[in-house]
Symmetry: D3
Amino acid sequence: MGDGRFDLITFGEIMLRLSPPNYERMTRGDVFDKRAGGSELNVASGVALLGLRTGIISRLPQNALGTFIKNRIRFEGVSDDYLIYDESPEARLGIYYYENGAAPRKPSIVYDRMNSSITRISLDEIPEDVYTSTRMFHTSGITLALNKNTCEVTTEMIRRFKEGGALVSFDCNYRANLWSEEDARAAIKNILPYVDILFVSEETSRRMMQKEGELKDIMKSYTLEYPVKVVCTTQREVISPRKHNFTSTIYDAQRDEFFTEKPYTNIDVIDRIGSGDAYVSGVLYGMLKYNDGQKALAYGNATSSVKNTIPGDLPASDLREIDSIIRNHQSDGPTSELNR
Amino acid sequence: MGDGRFDLITFGEIMLRLSPPNYERMTRGDVFDKRAGGSELNVASGVALLGLRTGIISRLPQNALGTFIKNRIRFEGVSDDYLIYDESPEARLGIYYYENGAAPRKPSIVYDRMNSSITRISLDEIPEDVYTSTRMFHTSGITLALNKNTCEVTTEMIRRFKEGGALVSFDCNYRANLWSEEDARAAIKNILPYVDILFVSEETSRRMMQKEGELKDIMKSYTLEYPVKVVCTTQREVISPRKHNFTSTIYDAQRDEFFTEKPYTNIDVIDRIGSGDAYVSGVLYGMLKYNDGQKALAYGNATSSVKNTIPGDLPASDLREIDSIIRNHQSDGPTSELNR
Amino acid sequence: MGDGRFDLITFGEIMLRLSPPNYERMTRGDVFDKRAGGSELNVASGVALLGLRTGIISRLPQNALGTFIKNRIRFEGVSDDYLIYDESPEARLGIYYYENGAAPRKPSIVYDRMNSSITRISLDEIPEDVYTSTRMFHTSGITLALNKNTCEVTTEMIRRFKEGGALVSFDCNYRANLWSEEDARAAIKNILPYVDILFVSEETSRRMMQKEGELKDIMKSYTLEYPVKVVCTTQREVISPRKHNFTSTIYDAQRDEFFTEKPYTNIDVIDRIGSGDAYVSGVLYGMLKYNDGQKALAYGNATSSVKNTIPGDLPASDLREIDSIIRNHQSDGPTSELNR
Amino acid sequence: MGDGRFDLITFGEIMLRLSPPNYERMTRGDVFDKRAGGSELNVASGVALLGLRTGIISRLPQNALGTFIKNRIRFEGVSDDYLIYDESPEARLGIYYYENGAAPRKPSIVYDRMNSSITRISLDEIPEDVYTSTRMFHTSGITLALNKNTCEVTTEMIRRFKEGGALVSFDCNYRANLWSEEDARAAIKNILPYVDILFVSEETSRRMMQKEGELKDIMKSYTLEYPVKVVCTTQREVISPRKHNFTSTIYDAQRDEFFTEKPYTNIDVIDRIGSGDAYVSGVLYGMLKYNDGQKALAYGNATSSVKNTIPGDLPASDLREIDSIIRNHQSDGPTSELNR
Amino acid sequence: MGDGRFDLITFGEIMLRLSPPNYERMTRGDVFDKRAGGSELNVASGVALLGLRTGIISRLPQNALGTFIKNRIRFEGVSDDYLIYDESPEARLGIYYYENGAAPRKPSIVYDRMNSSITRISLDEIPEDVYTSTRMFHTSGITLALNKNTCEVTTEMIRRFKEGGALVSFDCNYRANLWSEEDARAAIKNILPYVDILFVSEETSRRMMQKEGELKDIMKSYTLEYPVKVVCTTQREVISPRKHNFTSTIYDAQRDEFFTEKPYTNIDVIDRIGSGDAYVSGVLYGMLKYNDGQKALAYGNATSSVKNTIPGDLPASDLREIDSIIRNHQSDGPTSELNR
Amino acid sequence: MGDGRFDLITFGEIMLRLSPPNYERMTRGDVFDKRAGGSELNVASGVALLGLRTGIISRLPQNALGTFIKNRIRFEGVSDDYLIYDESPEARLGIYYYENGAAPRKPSIVYDRMNSSITRISLDEIPEDVYTSTRMFHTSGITLALNKNTCEVTTEMIRRFKEGGALVSFDCNYRANLWSEEDARAAIKNILPYVDILFVSEETSRRMMQKEGELKDIMKSYTLEYPVKVVCTTQREVISPRKHNFTSTIYDAQRDEFFTEKPYTNIDVIDRIGSGDAYVSGVLYGMLKYNDGQKALAYGNATSSVKNTIPGDLPASDLREIDSIIRNHQSDGPTSELNR
């Protein structure tokens, strides 16, 4: 488990997110809300908010935009110790544009992340001490997919973190606009031998990973084929872009047990982006703190549900809030309407 | 069909729309959102967004406000070739103030459009070539209602466009605050002999046009009494100011056929204004492009439904988006939650 | 009933309310919406909007913040004749921070009101003529709870207003973060002998006032134990932070009659704060204008329901709007979708 | 001097002022700042801020815009007792659009005030008691210029106020876009026999009033030809749209004395509109409070200079601030940089 | 001079410009102002505002950002007939981030324009008819500098426009962050044989073009070495980031005459970006309309000076405003302070 | 010099700063800009921006406001390791309201900081390790002045840091609204025996510290009476609230040398607050990095001058920017107008 300076280190791209306010469109209007986002930052941030020590490895341009992102990372309570700065003329921050949805209009995203500074990251830039500094390492399929270089670097990093004593968490996070199912499958199969905690959606299991049968059997199969210990699959029901239901299933291979709970219903979706990452953060918090699938499930479902109500990618709920949401969810009696 | 430089020319008043942001009230607050709007501009804009060439005939003050409107018209992809500028000291831009609703508070509008520059338009100001430049001409009952002069000018323009080979589209758009039912009925009966495509709500047919019986029979009756070829009637169900259902019926007299489809349900209403005009734009696109009532219906219902999610009067959905909304509406299977 | 210069005078703290816009969190973001609020100001403001003459007794710091509040009070149509200014170095305006909710996130409030200028108010500062200037006086349990001094001053003021011929209205408004149930019970029992119109929630009756049995019997009990003439209890059903149902029950002891009506359902909650005070204002208007429990109920339910759709503490609906909402609520037929 | 309920009553049009924020242009952008303004409101507001009791006679549409204006008038501390509401379908609020300047771009204004509700005001609507309620009455040439009706009504009002014992203050405020020099001269000559305090710029004296010679002689001439007691003329030096110098001269006919002081220099002009009205308010305060031309001059120069730093038409400086500005202006020693 | 459909066609990159509002920094804050900009768009827009018909050739991504830019181009009155859309997965819109300055802080820019869609433009995509459609063609050294491909394509386009009968205008616009002085010199020497109107700063002439001697001799030298007819050099004096002086010199080789005028002084700089392009637009307007160096100089100096007061890259002054600024600049007498 | 984990630790109150945007007034408007500020945070933040490791000791309420401040501290790159959270019901965050100035209106501040959480800080809450963790400790007279408790705690902390090997820096920062000159003098004399670097204005030296004579002699006197090694005095010339000149004098007692440089002139003051703290940060950086009075002076003058151009209390300039400003200030030749 490393030297324990960190509970969690993640690795991935951090982007500038630009979105028109309210329900305005990208094609119109005079302002963009300016935020930081990225799957692995979202996860590190969620775990930090819950009280653990987290950091992120990433590569940012050495300019004002990179500084903005660094500041925002720190604002979230995530360590910037392992940020690498790109001073080359090609240095750039990946961007994505996000527009809210309202039935029957779907939310939509335009990516402009090609050739961002992280795509030229080298293992040599990453200090050796990081591999033994943390109890857990997390990354996602997005990082593998960025380009060939990040795929190779990430695979090697996973190996080294494992060697350094960290648990390895991996979120498949398949994005068809980044790579093909074939490439994704091959790359992910390469790293599954090192993964302890796996996040994979039912659709990704079936289509990209070519699994068949019942969901529970599919989840279990990863633990049979690989030394994966925990498999997590979310169930999101999209009633409309502004109203979701959400729950998840966790399989603990060591106890050979499935954990579930009743869904959060009628979630008021203010900003859906990052709610999957918030789920990961809740589960990882549960595992790091309690090593208990049921608690991990409760934290994951609560952090994900409430993230939908928060503008931007990044979560903003501390432990007190999450604990109170879990209590309300599990309570049958009346609860106060307002936190005073 | 004219010389085909334009697919659609519309005629009507363009106003400045001022509205408090979010759910603030007109009676309070320090800012107004500043937008352009007007039924016939909304129609021309919707058709332009779908890829056809459109223009608008209107009369604007020769001042900074008129320039703002001209710029916004161009922003929408609508031609400003036939805008007329009023340099008189009386020149003014009509204004309307709009405030959002939330149950049990209804949306509300305050008009300040009297004596606007368009009310003093003269046929002499309109270049003769416009009448032969377009495949279709569209206007609405609002333009007839502005004052006696616009009623006369509009009637004559309809005649000339018809003569010039254009199809004539007309939206009854009865507004009780502009004129009486008697005046409206008389004026509209004057122009129905020239109308090819008629938009009329069931309530307007019954009250203002004094029709009785089944809706379908009412719709058909216009085609029996006048050379009207297509009659369109929308069905909007207002669940709350923020939640509507919507569909429509189209009657094609030449094929003697009614077209319908299942309603769009649980539309998230961000801004209801202009959704009727968006319907017109979808139908006219369908007719201009495919001359097919079923397609016109699908486009009309989709453009109207999605307009409700767009702030302001003006639509903002291009063909790709509308086609995707139609596909989703017609599909029974699962669809992606997000456009990436 | 005093000299009738005022229909209603209220007494209470007026605070600066700071809230992040939209669904942003207090812990993030760069701006606060800046508003005035406070239970008794909300009541005076609601009654003024409906057309009666109201004023408020309060104590404000003699600085720019106090001036802001004074200006806002006047903006609401409430008289500032009885505002007292605190020129001491300790002068301060109480503040509260409010954050919106969205399921499963509850709205939340952080108070910073200790030692505000009103807590050092003295009876000597209040002009004697106020006690005979008004038809009705209103205050709430919050004012009693601020500190020992306000409790004593308020109790004496109630006595004097009663003596001056005013009806006394009192809203229990129990706040557990301000005082204990025991202290509240004792203080309120001290003033109930002077109260004509009592607002008390079912939960407060049961817990703080230690009542048992059926709600109607509980309501009646106040009029049996004290010379209370009217008891009002609201029923709010919180479907989600953004969707409520609402109605109320009023008991008129003189007629020994209960008044009820069907609830307002699916209220779109934009800002829930102040909707209880808006209820009080509607009921007091009904009593002052018509002295009729059924009308008071109708006004109270309407003013409360619509307040939920208004940003900020303060109501913003005039008599025309409230009357129209009541008509819609009581009508079974179709109603227009839009106020033009 | 009337019954002294008011120190000052003014009469004039109150408009909605719409302006793009910062240095944006009217022809672009998505928002307008929404404010109230109008010469006579500005004067009443400035005098109220300094601590006297003021009111305004005006005519507003009976709609949400009229309510906004009424609320803002009260916010300023000005009485709304004499506002008249126009319930006719023609009711409208005059509007003006204002855009800031920056060298070499001048500020600019677009007016849309024709046919506003005040142009149809009738003497019958004005309660008789107003004429004996105040120590002073003020209006300006703008009110005379609106249309024939306001010219006649204003002239008669001036007569009645005079009769009722009020001092009459009049600001020539010549606006070439409202009327010709001939019409203005004739109308103003009609009222000069009733005027006690006259505000007239040097340019207006020379061009519109056709005076010649030295400024001081011109100022004196009004008091020789008419029973005018005090004549005030401002000297503004426009270094750039963002930098002005300002002072004024006052002639007191009874003492046959001219008052002057060194100019305020390098005024940071944030919003120039209303600084002339602020001057009037300072002078009238000085006369009402001290009946002393030197004090009136000091107040007028200070209120005008500081108004330039305030966004919007309306002043926002209370007596404490004005006194401190006067002290700083008259002091030669070092002054603190910051008010803590 | 082509078929005269256009007075001016320009070619260049159009970027998204993102800037923090007011004086906030890129490294902080939650919003970016979102604007369109690019040297050649700025020029086309300025000339369109003055009343001529202009268009732009550029290449935009086929996504919502590309649509935003297209809409903005049209808003400016510039034709979008020759925009080319990039549907490839690499499609991207170049971005630049701009931050305002205030002494002693300089304005600063961060570019993120590498690999934008225009860098992959091909001559085949440009319709042949464009080369004979216009009286003048304009581009700048920035377009040459983007990459090798744009350098080649631009050079060939210049050749074809010349062949098609258009005058060729070229602004050296040397940017050290895009290419070396050697590369710039070589590329520009390649195109100078085709250039009619040349814009080159004194510093660029001396350093990049390696000229020596007096400025006037340097300007003349271009017309001796190449068939250049007009050479324009601006003189900007930066007093502070918020205060500039500006004038220019134009040499007309055919008349062998230099044109100058007294500088605009104490320009209030709100946004300096694009003021060089505005200069070009004024000069080109003067040449296209009057073919007169003195008039071109007056228009260039005025359009440039006033652009500094306009937020964003794009100018916003129509002919009426520019003419009035020129009149004020040339007048010695008093001028009105305000445009009413 | 401690264990060197930190270069600088500061101690002081951190407040919420609320200010109306642009030039709006506290008494009006609907929004406040929400920022963090406080003299010692400003210093720690400035030094962190320049590249050193800094932290702050303070006491914050355990609520959402405290979290906001903590996040902002981290955003600035300052360590939150030594923040103490107040969970008592009295917990509150000090607030100050700030309004911009424009000649002749001065900036103004309203404080609401009494009884804030830091006033109840106890030495026991501060971890012992902090005293040996840093090379330098800094605090100011404001912290001494908050109340008796902070005065005692601060004095003891200074003693312990000194004992722990840290250099002690102290800024007199006399605030007449917090304490009397007598109290300040007594408290400061208590700590001067421990101070290494002293910041004191000329006015404070003369009035509060009762020094007389030439400035240089006064500065020197501190080093003669106490073991103070470095004395720094700033010279600010306030031309207007928006235009300042600035320089300073540093006396190095060990070298017995005075350091000065020519002033920064015509500084564009966007926000003056915190520029004194920025000066301290620049000087401390110079001393910590180079232990060189001349360099300290250059850094102090540059960081202070540029801070005036940054909205909010907190500086925002990194080393690259400060170095470039120093180079420009020291250069006589032309410098680029824009950082590209």
